[in-house]
Symmetry: C2
Subunit: 340 residues, 2 copies
DNA sequence: CTGAAAGCGCTTACAG
DNA sequence: CTGAAAGCGCTTACAG
């Protein structure tokens, strides 16, 4: 009744199976290098004793943790959730576990989290967007921790990325808006500082305006935090202008949903009085009324591809390769024709 | 230019500071046991060399990983997100990192994940609900991994839990529904098997019916997966009865939102034709139209309290104590009077 | 195919 | 207050 509660070690297995610890280790890690006979015997003992390798020891000896870290801007809303779920599932399938932290969209917090996960032994890191201090990339390089960037794509990125073209996507959405006669366009953007995705999306809007003969200089842009309430406030601000926009493009669905809600509170009809669009196509987009016109992002695909590629980078110690995913424009009730 | 890329070890620090590794270790872990003078010298060297303790070695020597695992049913929607975010933040503040996995509401997957996180060295585990195989609790006990249950509360639970009374909460909500004249009530529940929360919520509804002189036996219950689409299908099924319910109580907001959406598609007015309620009060609840009457759960409070208590259990090796949190009923547009 | 043994980088009684 | 040294439980060249 006493030795009963002790967790069995490799040594225990080796002794009761009558082999060396090396052999037991091989049975677990490279079974093909052990003859079937011994292997079966060892595996039976492992099963009998309920042996599981000690994580710390394994990490130290193998210099690998089979752990991947992900730092996302937020877990609060669904923006990154679906992707992260797919990422975790794919990781699990490859025998890796996910370590998560969130940065609250703050560069300083993100840096702290990166260091925390690395020192905790993450074999690789998933990061969102590539806009961050050079010193961080240097640190990652020094520690030899491969990093993969998601949620954005750029040919010339110094790090591999699995994502989509934020600028082109937003441009395509804006074209749809302009096609419906809108000429006074407002923007509600998340903070652009340290957020290349937010900036790219704004650039995309400007691209579309320019190619339609409009002057991007007249654009009204309100920057705010990615929160529903903030979207509402920004909306109110834009609508308080003497010549309010007839269409408001939001940096993501969360902001757009806040805008729609505030519109209702103010007695404004969407899209009758003002059209509103989002970006991401999270669950909220389909649930809000009117349903949100937005850019559909392949969340799950991005998550699982990122997992596969990152594990590949870790295991082959290769630089990794990028992949561009497609987005599609989802036209729903919140976008209508400019009345005028 | 060569030794440059090597990650410094404790030994390196000890040598260049002219002390033993024990002293360096103390400077990091129990600084008060080192005189200020030596300590300062050592800390300076640590800083200079950019030393960070090797995780694996530390884990093995200290038999602690400073890592807490959490297994939640899903990350896809926002149900657990806010709580998990608060949990992670509180953990981070205490110097712990969060390991996450999701079970997709499947007991077998959950068990696999529990074993994965434990063998990965989680110092403690956060689990949702207490309904699971006894062998799992036995395993946890054998491995001496403390577990804390969230999202539910029971005085007599064998494990400490930080949560709320699902049954009483749902009963209180149901009272509000009955108060508005509803007599034919339908239920859309998540799968009850292996989910004590789902069962408790149904019991709560029955409690309210009984105490109002209604027979719970007449209740129409549809069980389905916790997904928006499924909520819609279950709704349609309930409304296809010859005597459809005038109020439908859903096991959570996700199901309720699906029901509301389907109602609109079917041309039914909510709450004019049928009232719909949810549970959890996630963001969706306020965004859907009409806004959802639901049970408000203190997500963030639950997450952070769970973190504090779990860390406490890990560090003091105590059994841990439970805490019951309060829920409140949020009356919003989706609940109206029975027309009859 | 298998074993003996070094080594991974820390922490922690035990002395002094 | 500080140091010498054992030990944590694995993996992996190196032999044979």
């Amino acid at each position: 009744m006493t030795g009963n509660k002790t967790v069995p070690t490799l040594d225990d297995v080796a002794k009761t199976a009558g082999v060396s610890t090396a052999t037991v280790s091989r049975c677990i890690n490279t079974p093909e290098r052990v003859v079937e006979n011994t292997r079966n015997r060892v595996l039976k003992v492992i099963d009998q004793l309920g042996y599981t390798p000690n994580f710390g020891a394994r990490v130290m000896a193998a210099k690998r943790t089979y752990t991947i870290g992900a730092i996302i801007p937020t877990m609060e809303n669904a923006i990154f959730a679906r992707s992260l779920q797919a990422f975790q599932e794919a990781l699990h399938q490859k025998g890796y576990t996910l370590l998560v932290a969130s940065s609250a969209y703050r560069p300083d917090v993100e840096e702290e989290q990166i260091r925390a996960l690395v020192s905790r032994g993450a074999d690789g890191l998933l990061l969102i967007g590539h806009d961050r201090d050079a010193s961080i990339y240097q640190y990652l390089k020094q520690r030899e921790v491969p990093a993969l960037i998601a949620w954005t794509f750029a040919d010339d990125a110094p790090h591999p990325c699995i994502g989509f073209d934020n600028r082109a996507s937003m441009r395509a959405l804006t074209e749809e808006v302009l096609k419906r006669g809108h000429r006074r366009v407002g923007i509600i953007s998340g903070a652009t500082q340290g957020n290349d995705r937010a900036r790219q999306r704004i650039e995309g809007i400007k691209d579309a305006l320019t190619s339609n003969g409009l002057d991007p200089a007249n654009l009204n842009i309100v920057e705010t935090k990615y929160e529903i309430e903030c979207g509402g406030e920004a909306f109110e601000k834009l609508m308080s202008f003497k010549k309010p926009p007839t269409a408001i493009l939001c940096g993501n669905d969360v902001l757009a949903v806040g805008a729609i809600r505030r519109a209702r509170e103010l007695g404004l009809d969407v899209p009758g009085d003002v059209s509103i669009t989002g970006f991401d196509d999270i669950e909220l987009a389909k649930v809000v009324f009117p349903a949100l016109t937005t850019v559909h992002v392949p969340h799950r695909e991005m998550g699982s591809k990122a997992a596969v590629e990152l594990v590949n980078m870790v295991e082959t110690k290769s630089a990794g390769s990028s992949a561009e995913l497609n987005t599609t424009i989802q036209i729903r009730g919140s976008l209508g024709h400019a009345k005028n």
